[in-house]
Symmetry: C3
Subunit: 138 residues, 3 copies
């Protein structure tokens, strides 16, 4: 079995941001030399997501409004968690969008559909945070 393990540091300049990590993951799959296997990509922090969807800015705008409607940031006082922090909404938004994706590797490539694109979604940014890429296969 071959494996590759790589932590990637992120530092979003705003509280919330959708950032493509597609090329980095593609590149790591190539570096791994794995022909058949899987790649796990996950946020290492609990106020961020890794997800797969469309690389289209209108949709990303729509996600922002939609998640804010499902789990509003303010007023901060509506959440018990915010006795210590102000990011309870971020812990909720991340559950909707998910922690991780698992993608197949076939013939040495990410095995994705035509519009699948891998993103990191930051819900509580302006600080250094990590995501993890773990590849296993042979």
């Amino acid at each position: 079995m071959k494996t590759l393990t790589k932590e990637i540091w992120m530092n979003a300049p705003r509280r919330r941001a959708i950032i493509s990590i597609h090329r980095e993951v593609q590149q790591l799959v190539r570096e791994s030399g794995v022909q058949e296997g899987i790649v796990l990509v996950n946020a290492m922090h609990i106020t961020a997501s890794v997800f797969i969807n469309d690389n289209e800015s209108g949709l990303h705008h729509d996600y922002e409004l939609w998640l804010e409607r499902l789990a509003p940031e303010k007023p901060h006082s509506q959440y018990q968690h915010n006795g210590y922090e102000d990011n309870a909404d971020a812990h909720m938004k991340r559950q909707v969008m998910g922690r991780e994706v698992v993608v197949a590797i076939t013939e040495g490539q990410l095995h994705l559909g035509p519009w699948e694109h891998i993103f990191y979604y930051e819900f509580d940014g302006m600080r250094k945070k990590r995501l993890l890429v773990k590849i296993i296969g042979e």
Copy 2:
């Protein structure tokens, strides 16, 4: 390591539909000859889900109403993404229901609880779309 890779084509006759893919996945696990491992089952399109839940038509009806309440299809004009398309709601519903499932294979069988059933959820149908089954193990 043994692997099996299989794309399955779907063509739902309606915009939205819940379709069992349980038997196909079971059959592919058998074909793979894998005794111990995992199977990844994922939508290859970004307006569809693969999920595990109850094979009960009342619940499937309830999911329809619930997802429509969380992410309404209409009016189409409420979403920026719909400048080009009319399926922004489908990109949201799919995030709630998830892109993929990962299921253990133990002693050559899908290792599932008594009511776990694998489904494909189409949110923007009436066209050909694919899902992927990837099995790894030995």
Copy 3:
């Protein structure tokens, strides 16, 4: 390839409860002897979740209120599924929080960020239910 398969029985004393399973999973990773690989942890029942988030009681309280707002339990009669049962809301809450997590194993340890903690979320308790830990790697 090394594998470890373990079903863990749960019996929550209330309808809903968030229960840490972090130490059990850590212990099983150690027992497996796997140095590089992945661990899949999933609910075996369709009215429960396995998820990763903060080990903070205020947030857990917030999740309770938030999920009840997204998918209210009552009135039971609002759901077709409840012709036979009273747990349709539990099938919805579980989709928001997810069925499973996949976590990397690196150098024989769970490869997690500083605040990541693995939980079982029961949405229809007061009965015996199982979750599954499946480890593969070498």
